[in-house]
C-alpha cells in the first residue's frame, strides 16, 4: 500500500505551489466531508514507488478556531498519515514554527520543508539547517517550491522517516511551572484510562484541556464523563491560580511559552540576520503606493475596472463561438429531426438550456483567472484591508468586496463565480451574509433586461438610469446584509486579523490549475442541474397542448404568431401566469410578464426571450431586443412606471438556478438556497408593489 504524506503549513508558505510541483497534473480536488473546505489529493512517483499526498488547508495554528484548522487537525488525528510534511517559510521562520511545534506535539512524525530559502537568502537571512533539525528533532530539507528545487530530497527524507518505527519524542518545551505541574498530574490520569487514546497522545489531550479546547473537551465528556470532570477541576484550579498570581490564563500561558521556546531556539545559532534594522523589502515599497490612503483606493478602482474589461473582452469571442456552435447544433437538429414534441424537447429544452449555461463558461474561466492572479499575487488581501471599515458597518467583512464586484457590483458580472469567490471569506457568518446578498448585484444576464426596458421607456436618461440601477442594487444588498446580520445570522463580527502576504508573481501552473478546477466544477455541477431544470421549464411551457381543431383554425387563418400566444396561454406556465396575475397586477405585471419572470427562475436570460414569445413576436433574442422594445413602448399595458417596477423586481428576485446550486454548495445546505429563493422573491414583489403603487398615487 502506498504511504500517505500530509502537507501542512501556514497560508502563503508556498504549500500549494509545492503540492503542484510534486503531483503535477495527477491531483484530485474534492471536499472534506460536510464542509466546503477543499481537499486536494495527489500522487508523487519516485522511481517505482508511489506516495499518496494530501494538501491540508493552510493554517497558522492547530486550535479549533476556523473550519480549516478543525479539518487539518481531524485529518491528522483520524487518518494518521505516515509523515506530515510541514512547509515552513524560511523568510518568516518564527511565526511558521508555531504551527510546526503544535504538529510535533500531536505525536506524528514531521519532516520540515524549509521553503523559499532563496527569498530568505536575498534578504540576508541565514539559517543553520542542521542546528534547527537537531533542536527540533525532525529532518529539515531546504526547498524552492516555485522551481521544484529540493523536492526529491524532501520526498527522500519523508520516505526514510516513514520507515522509522520509533515514535519521535515531544520537543522539550516548558510551559511554566504551574502548567508543567498540571500536565504532570493530568497525563497519568489520561493514559491510565486511555482517554481519546486511539487518536491523540495523552500529553496533547492534557494540553487541550488546559487550553479549554471545546472540541476535545466535548469528545472527552462523551467518552468518560467522570475523568473529564476531574481533568476540568484541575484546569479550573490552575486557571484560578494563574489569574490571581499572574493575571493570565492557561491558554495564553501556553501560547506565550511556545513562542518563547521558538525565540530561544532561533537565538541558539539557528538564525542569522544581516542588517536587520528597518530595511524595506520590495513588498513594503509596493505597499507604500498600493495601500496609500489616497492613491490606494484610486488604484483599487482602476484594477477592478481593468479586471472587468479584460474578462469581458477576452470572453466575448469564445462566448460567441459557443453560441453559434449551439445555434448550429440546433439547426442540425431542426433539419434532421421530424417535427413533433421530441424535436421541440431537443431544441428548446436540451440544446437551448444547456447551451445557455455553457455560454457562460468563458466568462467564468477568465474571471477566475483574473481573481486567481489577484489572490495569488497578494493584492486581494489589500482590497479587503482597505474596504473592511465600510463593509463592517453592514455586518460584512473586507473580504466580501470581491464576491460583490464579481457578481456584478459594477454591472455585468455573474453571481455564480461571485458566490464561489466568497470562499476567500473565512468567517462563517459574514460569508453566509455575503452569499445571500451577492445575487442582488446586476449580473450580465439581468443587464439585457434593464437595457431593453430603459431603452424603451427612459431613452433620454439611459446613463443616469443605469447609474441609478447600480446604486439601488448596492443599497439593497447592503441593507439586506445589515438586516440579516441583525436577525437570522446575528452574531458578533469575527475578528479581522489578516496577514497581508508579500507580493508574489503568480505561477502560470498555479493559475491554470486553480481557475481550471473551479470552472470544471461549474460545468459539471451546474450543467447537470440546469439540464433537468430547462427540460422541466420546456414542459411547463409546452403542455398541455392546444386541441388540434384550434391549432388548425389558427393555421388556416395564417396566424402563426397568435397561435404561439394561444399555445403558451394554454400551457401550465401560461395558467400559472394567469393565476398569479391578480397579485402581480399590484406591481403592474400581466400574465405574460409573469411567464417570463417564471422562466427567469431558471436563468435570467430567459426573461427576454420569453417576453418575446409571450408578446407574440416569435423568437426574439437578446441581440434583437429592439423589436420587443418598440412593441412594449407602444403597448397599452406598459408605461415607464411598469418598466421601473419590473426593473426593481428583476433586480431583487430569486437567484437563477445555477446560482442557487452554488449557494447550496457553498453554504453547505439547500436550506439557504431555498431561503434566498423565497426571501428574495418576497422582497422583490414587496418593493415592486411599493414602487408601482406609490408611483400610481403620484400619477406617474
Amino acid at each position: 500500500m502506498a504511504r500517505t504524506f500530509a502537507l501542512a503549513g501556514n497560508p502563503n508558505s508556498g504549500k500549494t505551489t509545492l503540492f503542484n510541483a510534486l503531483t503535477g497534473a495527477r491531483q484530485h480536488v474534492g471536499n472534506y466531508p460536510g464542509v466546503t473546505v477543499e481537499k486536494k489529493t495527489g500522487v508523487y512517483r519516485m522511481g517505482s514507488r508511489e506516495f499518496f499526498l494530501v494538501d491540508l488547508p493552510g493554517t497558522y495554528s492547530m486550535t479549533a478556531y476556523s473550519m480549516e484548522e478543525v479539518v487539518a487537525r481531524d485529518y491528522l488525528a483520524m487518518e494518521k498519515p505516515s509523515v506530515v510534511v510541514d512547509i515552513v517559510d524560511a523568510s518568516n521562520l518564527a511565526r511558521n514554527l508555531y504551527l510546526t511545534l503544535q504538529i510535533i506535539e500531536m505525536g506524528i512524525p514531521v519532516c520540515i520543508a524549509l521553503n523559499m530559502v532563496d527569498v530568505a537568502e536575498g534578504r540576508g537571512i541565514r539559517i543553520d539547517i542542521e542546528k534547527l533539525s537537531e533542536l527540533l528533532g525532525v529532518p529539515v530539507v531546504p526547498t524552492v517550491a516555485r522551481s521544484g528545487k529540493g523536492k526529491r530530497e524532501l520526498m527522500d527524507a519523508a520516505a526514510q522517516l516513514a520507515e522509522k518505527t520509533d515514535r519521535i519524542s515531544f520537543p522539550p518545551i516548558s510551559y511554566g511551572d504551574d502548567i508543567d505541574a498540571a500536565l504532570a498530574e493530568m497525563e497519568p490520569l489520561i493514559s491510565g484510562k486511555n482517554l481519546l487514546s486511539g487518536h491523540y497522545p495523552a500529553r496533547w489531550v492534557a494540553l487541550k484541556y488546559l487550553e479549554k479546547d471545546q472540541q476535545i473537551v466535548s469528545v472527552g465528556d462523551a467518552e468518560n464523563p467522570e475523568l473529564s470532570s476531574e481533568l476540568l477541576r484541575i484546569v479550573d484550579r490552575v486557571t484560578l491560580h494563574l489569574s490571581r498570581t499572574l493575571n493570565t490564563d492557561p491558554e495564553a500561558m501556553i501560547a506565550d511559552h511556545r513562542h518563547g521556546f521558538i525565540r530561544s531556539l532561533l537565538r541558539q545559532g539557528v538564525l542569522h540576520v544581516e542588517n536587520e534594522s528597518s530595511r524595506l523589502y520590495l513588498s513594503d515599497r509596493i505597499d507604500q503606493v498600493l495601500i496609500n490612503r489616497v492613491a490606494g483606493p484610486v488604484i483599487m478602482a482602476a484594477v477592478v475596472l481593468l479586471l472587468y474589461h479584460v474578462t469581458f473582452a477576452l470572453s466575448e469571442i469564445p462566448g460567441q463561438w459557443l453560441e453559434s456552435g449551439f445555434a448550429a447544433l440546433g439547426s442540425i437538429a431542426d433539419a434532421r429531426m421530424a417535427d413533433g414534441m421530441l424535436k421541440s424537447l431537443v431544441i428548446s429544452g436540451i440544446i437551448d438550456g444547456v447551451g445557455g449555461v455553457l455560454e457562460f463558461v468563458p466568462i467564468i474561466l477568465f474571471m477566475f483567472v483574473g481573481i486567481t492572479i489577484l489572490e495569488d499575487s497578494g493584492y486581494l488581501a489589500r482590497v479587503a484591508f482597505m474596504l473592511d471599515r465600510v463593509f463592517r458597518v453592514f455586518g460584512l467583512h473586507g473580504s466580501s468586496v470581491m464576491p460583490f464586484i464579481v457578481s456584478g457590483g459594477i454591472a455585468g458580472g455573474c453571481a455564480v463565480p461571485g458566490v464561489m469567490a466568497a470562499r476567500t471569506l473565512k468567517s462563517p457568518k459574514e460569508r453566509l451574509a455575503t452569499l445571500l446578498t451577492v445575487p442582488f448585484m446586476n449580473c450580465g444576464a439581468k443587464l439585457p433586461v434593464f437595457a431593453l426596458l430603459i431603452g424603451a421607456f427612459f431613452a433620454a436618461y439611459k446613463a443616469w438610469m443605469m447609474f441609478a440601477v447600480t446604486i439601488i442594487s448596492w443599497a439593497g444588498a447592503l441593507i439586506v446584509a445589515w438586516v440579516l446580520r441583525h436577525t437570522i445570522i446575528r452574531g458578533e463580527p469575527m475578528p479581522f486579523i489578516m496577514e497581508l502576504p508579500p507580493y508574489r508573481l503568480p505561477t502560470v501552473r498555479g493559475v491554470i490549475i486553480h481557475a481550471g478546477e473551479r470552472t470544471w466544477q461549474y460545468i459539471r455541477k451546474a450543467g447537470t442541474v440546469i439540464l433537468a431544470i430547462s427540460i422541466l421549464l420546456w414542459a411547463l411551457m409546452s403542455f398541455p397542448t392546444l386541441p388540434d381543431h384550434q391549432v388548425e383554425a389558427y393555421q388556416q387563418a395564417g396566424m402563426e404568431a397568435e397561435l404561439a400566444r394561444a399555445e403558451l396561454e394554454h400551457s401550465v406556465a401560461g395558467r400559472i401566469g394567469t393565476t398569479l396575475e391578480p397579485a402581480t397586477r399590484l406591481a403592474g405585471f400581466d400574465w405574460r410578464t409573469n411567464i417570463a419572470l417564471l422562466g427567469g427562475f431558471a436563468a435570467k436570460e430567459v426573461i427576454i426571450s420569453t417576453l418575446g414569445t409571450a408578446y407574440s413576436l416569435g423568437e426574439v433574442d437578446v441581440e434583437e431586443a429592439g423589436g420587443l422594445s418598440t412593441r412594449l413602448a407602444s403597448s397599452d399595458d406598459w408605461r415607464p412606471l411598469t418598466a421601473f417596477s419590473l426593473i426593481i423586481f428583476v433586480m431583487f428576485y430569486s437567484p437563477c438556478f445555477v446560482a442557487m446550486v452554488c449557494i447550496a454548495r457553498e453554504a453547505g445546505s439547500w436550506k439557504w438556497a431555498f431561503f434566498s429563493m423565497g426571501f428574495n422573491t418576497v422582497l422583490a414583489i414587496v418593493l415592486a408593489v411599493m414602487v408601482f403603487q406609490a408611483g400610481t398615487l403620484l400619477g406617474l
Binding site: Y60, S61, T63, Y65, D89, S91, N92, L93, A94, R95, Y98, D249, E251, A252, A255, D256, H259, G260, R263, S278, S283, D284, D287, Q288, I291, N292, R293, V294, G296, P297, A381, F385, M386, L387, D388, R389, V390, R392, G398, P495, F496, I497, M498, E499, L500, P501, P502
Partner: protein, 77 residues
Amino acid sequence: MACINMRQMREKQSGRITAVRASGELGRRIRDMGLVPGTRFTVKGRAPLKDPVALRIAGFTLALRNSEADYIDVEVE
C-alpha cells in the same frame, strides 16, 4: 519609553508588545499570529478610513482592526 494602547499609535511608530489582554477566541487568534509579549513591530500604515491598521512584524505584515488593537498594550520607542 511609554506604555500605550496599540490603537493610539501613529504611523511609522515602532514598539514592543507588553501585554495581550484578550482571552478566548480573539486572544487565541491574536497569539496564533505571533502577537505575544516581547514581539517588536512597526505600524506600517492605516486603511483609508483609519481602520484597520497594518503592522510590520519580523517576517510579515499583519492587519487588524482597532477594536482588536484595543486589547494590546505596547511600549513605544
